[in-house]
Amino acid sequence: MMQTDSKPQQPPQTTHRYDGVAKVTGKAKYAAEFTEPFAKSELLYAFIVQSTIPAGTVKTMDTKRAEHATGVVAVLTPFNAPKLSVGPPQPPARRSLTVLQDTNVSYNGQPIGVVIAKSLPEARYAAKLIETTYDEQPAKLDFMGRLGEARSPKSSGREPAKQLKTEADSAFSGAAVTVENTYVTPIQVHNPMEPHATTAWWDGEKLNVYDTTQYITGTKMSLARALNIAQDNIRVQCPFVGGGFGCKGSTWSHVVLAAMSAKIVGKPVKLVLERDQMFGPVGYRPTTVNKIRLAADLQGKLSLIQQDVTMNASVLEDFAERSDSPARKLYASKTIATSINMVDVNYSVGTFMRAPGEASGTAVLEIAMDELAEKLKMDPVQLRLVNYAERDPTEDKPWSSKHLRECYTQAAERFGWSKRNAMPGQTTEGNKLIGYGMATATYPANRSAAQAVARYLPNGRVFIGSGTQDLGTGMYTVMAQTVAANLGIDPMQVDVKLGDSLLPRAPVSGGSQSTASVGPAVDAACTQLKLKVAALAITDPKSVLHGAADNDVDVNNGKVFLKSDSSKSEPVVALLARNGAKPVEAQGSAEPGEERTATSQQSFGAVFAEVAVDKSTHMVQVRRVAATYDIGTLVNNQTGMNQLHGGITWGVSFALHEEAVVDQTYGRMVNESLAEYHVPVNADIGTMDVTVLNIPDTKFSPLGARGIGEIGITGAMAAIANAIYNATGKRVRHYPITPDKIMLA
């Protein structure tokens, strides 16, 4: 089926990075860095006390030594903390909070107390002085040993695949070529560079927080609910976020504990999680065990894609990561049967982590596809083309826009895929084995309702505000750029404000939706602003445009003018100066319409990787990655490419490095530091050749941009895994692919 999208067009680019100077000069302030508006000397420091058992109840907490330690102001425990009406987990980011309301312990590392002191070292030391006794109960810790206990997710999700079981079995047994294997992804922890941090202070009944979050409105709602106060009495500010990746998409216990602490001591309180405290209490990507069955005819045409996922849940709460999603979107197949099941363990609660579902899903499915291609003696790209999904294969809808074929062609060409030796283990360079691998990338296009406010200022500058967040992704820049494009001004003339709950509401910065959601709202606010400026000119007797027809007046490049005779114009600043020198303000909002249900909106890409594997150390070097993405319009070359490069880097991390290991006796994560929990260093990242098709998806949104924050991860790990196989002839189906696994495979 031919696509009928509009022709590719390059949006006006800008080299202006709105927050660049502030960031590189240290002037950008993060949640833990504010010492205003309160007096700095008033600020107290809170430190979380955590459980050291995985299951049971706290029997006693002897806090005497802690309370008498130098600098300590207060110690909160389940035995003296104020009672809150926390209630059940609240959408949109459902999280069970553990805020000292009972003595239950559900995982090792759970918050069970807070020490508030005049300095951080004093608080940290006093926390060590608390002597806690427990009534221990047997803990469920061995996830892999409990796969037989798997159950359906508690929340209603997709239809269980059980009804397709017979169909799947018959497709499998009758097929000419099949693949059936189990693939495992580990627990991964987000570890943004900036740890979770909340600074809270009360002004009478009004609560103020600086919180590092992907969702200021979510923080506000959760605090209102937990503390039983009106949302209007809460202000959340978050001008900068030093990385979120999903763990800052929910409000976790420490945020409420910071607010509670501030209330009790009657002073501003800062609570920053230590690096090791980031391993558990603020979420992680759950571990998944994926049974995959593929069945195809001799031409490679799929008749079955089956993926049964078993993942860990916390005894506290379900978080089901839909790692079966790619299996439902990537390829056409007569039968597509997927399921998700959960195993309860005494771990903390899992959460969204960059490309939740699609990261793990493509990591496993795309290895299986490589195995199928090998069995068919077919080029892996060809196998994917044979099974190209012209329509959404499970929802039977057309795509809003899909150009994956071009991605395969372009990336393969740039990579030099034709030079690949299909026989594994054949290409060597000295002591190294060289291999090529590829995989498909995909991520859904999300969009939510958002609002923005725009003001033309008397000095000619334009203010734009929206209650969104910038995770380091470039939201400031994109907002300035969108305003500049709409109003025909230099982006340097735009003042951007975000990350303040007093601003018009915007959605969570998650699901790669911020540009797609906030961009149209900003655009709409600017369009409304132009109408207001035009109206002001039309009604101003001193304006050359006085009395002109509404639809004949426009605003561009700092001028208001007559469309039918552009010689009739005046500077906006002159117009405003005559009219009280006050700003002109307009609100704008945008939300997805019916097109959201008429089509399926999904981004795609093709990733190719070259690895070198040392024959003696079995260490893997990812030498090159070439990838091409179909992500609609690329709004900003710099920030966009940054995100894609960062995503692929994360793919290397997923493929080779990341794993949080839970001790099976104590239930604690053992490698809770960045020395022991590995992410790539510069030396692990080879060259990257990233391109985008830049074809606007106007059925998705007026901007045509589908969001790029997450797709870069997807596919990359399988491309690397498949390259390792091509290099060594060893198929590792358990991430991360570390040297020992390659040696033993």
Binding site: K128, S616, T617, Q621, R668, H678, V681, P739, D740
Partner: protein
């Protein structure tokens, strides 16, 4: 971090005197000690800052080299005499940590570096004989991928003698292959300890990493005249390309006479409570031709008696492959 007193020593004698106060520890680069204090693993009552006592020179001659205890890892690795005469040491140093850490970390401190055993580094784990003598060992039945396969003390998880921790240093492995010695000074004067005798196996006292006495200061490291300046290799197998501790590392030095091995120095890292020096492996090399078969025999000898655990069985084979590879590379020259 516990409250502690800080005292700055101006000379080695000051430092040794200051250490007589119970609970005192020397502060060098602080790259390991300060982390462990923050975790509550180390709780010194006084830190004696030895950064200003001198001991920061490298003196090299045809007879050998003397390295001051306070020489930073970066300075040592890049010292022209070390690069020329002891490339094995230089490469081992540069394969460790990160540039920032190497700029701080000292020679003496690297010798004293403590294990990265997860159960040692986190006080929330109740069992660790090294951290809390007599409490048992959580690693034996825990996640023991990074743990020892040689020379470990293992009398079961609840025994006070059990410890399967490894020494994490890269520098130490090279010093073992180079047969260095450690010069120390205490209230009773100076003495020299062969580096191969400096670190301990757990041997009933896992809490004690070294044979340094509690009142002694490391003043330097001495290297004998270089025999391996033309043929040596430091090979490190690890989970990422940089800033990762060794799964297994090998320091190999060869003195070649044509294709015949005249003498050899061979030590392994990541496999034991101390760098693993194997006289048996060395014996397999002496007077033999530098062939794959010779190297394989040396590898087998070095790993004889290895005992692995649930998560580190791979180390035995990986260590053998790395020994063979390191010897092979060493026989051909030195690292660039």
């Amino acid at each position: 971090m516990n409250p502690f007193a800080y005292q700055r020593a101006e000379a080695p004698s000051d430092a040794i005197k200051a250490l007589s106060v119970s609970g005192s520890k020397f502060l060098g680069g602080g790259t390991n000690l300060v982390d462990l204090m923050r975790y509550g693993v180390e709780t010194p009552t006084t830190l004696v800052d030895i950064n200003h006592v001198g001991l920061n020179l490298v003196q090299a001659s045809a007879q050998g080299a003397k390295i001051g205890a306070l020489v930073r890892n970066s300075d040592l690795a890049n010292h022209p005499a070390i690069v020329a005469n002891y490339p094995l040491l230089s490469h081992a140093l540069l394969s460790g940590a990160s540039p920032q850490l190497r700029n701080r970390a000292t020679t003496g401190g690297n010798l004293m570096q403590r294990t990265r055993c997860y159960y040692f580094m986190d006080t929330a784990f109740p069992a660790c004989n090294k951290r809390k003598p007599g409490s048992g060992c959580a690693a034996v039945k825990g996640f023991n991928r990074i743990h020892a396969i040689l020379g470990q003390g293992d009398e079961g998880p609840s025994s006070p003698h059990t410890c399967i921790a490894t020494n994490p240093s890269d520098m130490n492995v090279a010093l073992y292959a180079l047969n260095a010695s450690v010069d120390v000074e205490g209230p009773n004067g100076k003495r020299t300890i062969a580096v191969r005798e400096f670190h301990r196996l757990p041997q009933g006292k896992p809490e004690q990493d070294t044979n340094l006495q509690p009142d002694e200061l490391i003043v330097g490291v001495s290297l004998p005249a270089s025999k391996f300046s033309r043929n040596s290799w430091y090979l490190k197998a690890r989970d990422r390309q940089s800033y990762a501790f060794a799964l297994v590392s090998v320091a190999a030095g060869l003195e070649m006479d044509g294709n015949t091995i005249r003498s050899a120095g061979l030590a392994l890292g990541g496999v034991a409570h101390k760098p693993w020096y194997s006289p048996e492996a060395e014996h397999e090399l002496l007077g033999k031709p530098a062939t794959e078969a010779t190297f394989q025999r040396a590898a087998n000898a070095a790993l004889a008696g290895a005992k692995a655990y649930e998560h580190n069985t791979f180390k035995v084979e990986l260590a053998k492959q790395c020994v063979v590879r390191a010897l092979n590379l060493a026989s051909k020259g030195v690292q660039a």
